[in-house]
């Protein structure tokens, strides 16, 4: 069984490029060039140099002893929170900014939910001196204020997306519309393994450095790799080099919001059905008429009604397992990680920690959790939800 994209851009029945004709030249240009550029020595040299000296890779693989003692296995944390800008998102933006330069693009657009991808995009644009416009849902602008300020400090323009649920889905719509209106000089840096082919594969490749390092850092294979999934990029990066090692159990953790039996949830793979959203066929949350259901999660980065097509395929072909964690459980897990390991995780990442209690680990089990980002951006939410100022 292949878990990689085929030459037409599909993972089994999922994927493809369901783009309006208006974007055809842009997507065709990317499809024809992304592998060629990625494989060139020039790209490889610059990419790895920047990952090392600018992003701070390799990120450590840390043995979390107190969490291990609590849950019974050996729990290792892949420290993507230590990347420059505070999350894994920058692995992808470093790759895409080099690509955009090689394609001669002058203007960069991006969508962002939690703001981590927006910050990572604004960062590489500053590094390269390119104009940067980030679309962000109005609701997310409110709940991720520190990241909005960071983007502005870095010289990016933040444009609010005011339609629909005013979150990541709507920011993505606006970014795609911008691209339609500016097809010639603009590159769209999508922040996850979503969107039309070749984005899911391209972003997965840039993020695959995560599992490449894990493999090198661990003696032998882990038993579990666990990551949160919004669009699915940190999970795909962490799974990538283990896809063909069937003994490694891969677990993606989505946001259940208030619960999968409520209508305030973002548990796409648990509740969704096949459909086309943001130009690829995947699994999505929709009503019987095919209208997209507005999701809910406490975490802006997981508050998305779709999921990358590769994850839909991993689920359907039973290669990975997907679990859903509620807002309340994610908050509990965030506190636990903070107090047992001295690491405040991003709210997105906290979802991944919450499944430890459900795994029933053996003492010999070796678990890797992808610690996708740090929690600084979420301190407002943590303060409010955990009533920290009353402590």
């Amino acid at each position: 069984m292949s878990y990689q994209v085929d030459e037409k851009g599909f993972y089994g029945e999922f994927g493809g490029a369901f783009i309006p004709e208006l974007l055809y030249p842009n997507i065709e240009e990317l499809q024809e060039n992304y592998l060629k550029i990625e494989k060139s020595e020039e790209f490889q040299t610059e990419f790895h140099q920047l990952l090392k000296d600018y992003v701070g890779r390799p990120t450590p693989l840390f043995l979390a002893k107190r969490l291990s003692a609590k849950y019974g296995g050996e729990i290792w944390l892949k420290r993507e929170d230590l990347c420059h800008t505070g999350a894994h998102k920058i692995n992808n933006t470093v790759g895409q900014i080099i690509l955009a330069q090689k394609l001669g693009k002058k203007r960069i657009i991006a969508e962002t939910g939690a703001g981590q991808h927006g910050v990572a995009t604004a960062t590489v644009c500053a590094l390269k001196g390119l104009k940067c416009i980030v679309y962000m849902g109005e609701k997310d602008i409110e709940r991720q204020a520190p990241n909005v300020a960071r983007m502005k400090m870095l010289g990016a323009e933040v444009r609010p997306a005011m339609s629909g649920s005013k979150t990541l889905k709507d920011a993505t719509n606006e970014a795609m519309r911008d691209w339609i209106n500016n097809p010639e000089d603009t590159h769209y840096i999508i922040g996850s393994v979503v969107g039309p082919h070749p984005y899911p594969d391209m972003v997965a490749r840039y993020q695959s450095i995560i599992s490449k390092e894990i493999k090198e850092q661990m003696q032998g294979l882990p038993d579990y790799v666990i990551a949160c999934v919004g669009g699915g990029s940190n999970a795909m990066g962490a799974f990538y080099h283990f896809l063909d090692d069937p003994s490694v159990k891969l677990i993606g953790v989505e946001a259940a919001g208030l619960g999968i039996d409520t209508d305030k949830t973002a548990a796409t793979l648990t509740l969704g059905t096949p459909g086309v959203l943001h130009a690829s066929r995947s699994i999505m949350m929709q009503d019987k008429d095919g209208q997209v259901i507005e999701p809910h999660s406490i975490s802006a980065g997981l508050d998305y009604p779709g999921i990358g097509p590769a994850h839909a395929w991993l689920k359907v072909s039973d290669r990975a397992q997907y679990m859903a964690v509620t807002d309340a459980d994610a908050l509990k897990a965030a506190v636990e990680c903070s107090r047992l390991e001295g690491i405040i995780p991003a709210l997105e990442t906290a979802h991944a920690f919450s499944v430890l209690k459900d795994l029933d680990l053996k003492p010999t089990d070796r678990v890797v959790i992808n610690l996708s980002g740090r929690g600084d951006k979420d301190m407002d939410t943590y303060m409010r939800e955990l009533k920290l100022n009353e402590l």
Binding site: G16, F18, E21, P25, K169, N181, D289, Q291
Partner: protein, 260 residues
Amino acid sequence: MQNNLTQLFSSKPKNLLNIFFTAGYPKLEDTTVILKALEEAKVDLVEIGIPFSDPLADGPTIQESSKIALENGMSIEKLFTQLESYREENPEADTPILLMGYLNPVMQFGLDKFCARCASVGVDGLIVPDLPMFIYEHEFKATFEKHNISNVFLVTPQTSEKRIREIDANSTGFIYAVSSASTTGSKADFSAAADYLGKLRDMDLKTPVLTGFNIKNNQNFKDACSFVDGAIIGSEFIRQIAETTDLKQTVASFVKEIKK
């Protein structure tokens, strides 16, 4: 195959006016009121938008109309019901009707069922902006043909000549030439499109070409028709009907003004 659309084009007419509006907007039951007014005003084609929650290729005006239409309770099933009663009440109506809708709602409805219902209520053609040509050829074409539904593809100033020829070969309705690479309703200057429309005219395509996306007035319409077979007006029409208290009158005078 013949339907009202291919029938219309068989005499190679010029100066065709195609009006786009969103089903179920401004009010749920306005669909057929507008349709009838357009028929009476003798527009050449009518394009009805099926509202979608995430209309990627549309600008603010059509987005807003889609949102309101959905809030009004519009759905594909509802639209077919409205068109059924329209046909019953207006058996003589023969203006070609196209539906424009995003892929996902159509797929959830079921492609074969969708095309069958289109045929039974007298819809002649479909525009699915996020249906790529290669998927159309492999997964959709046979079903469209079985139900005698024409398909319409878009071309833009960025579309290569080779691809325009492929699109021409695959089209059975008309080609929808976007006058500047843009979401619907953008404010680009029409004159910028002249080179491109001239190029399309000179390519001598088998399929008629209509241009759209930022035609607003009689002058734009004439300019467009000096190059290609006709033009499509959407956002401007929607803006006009949004504000009116007399739909029939507004539709009639809008069409008259454009075609004068």
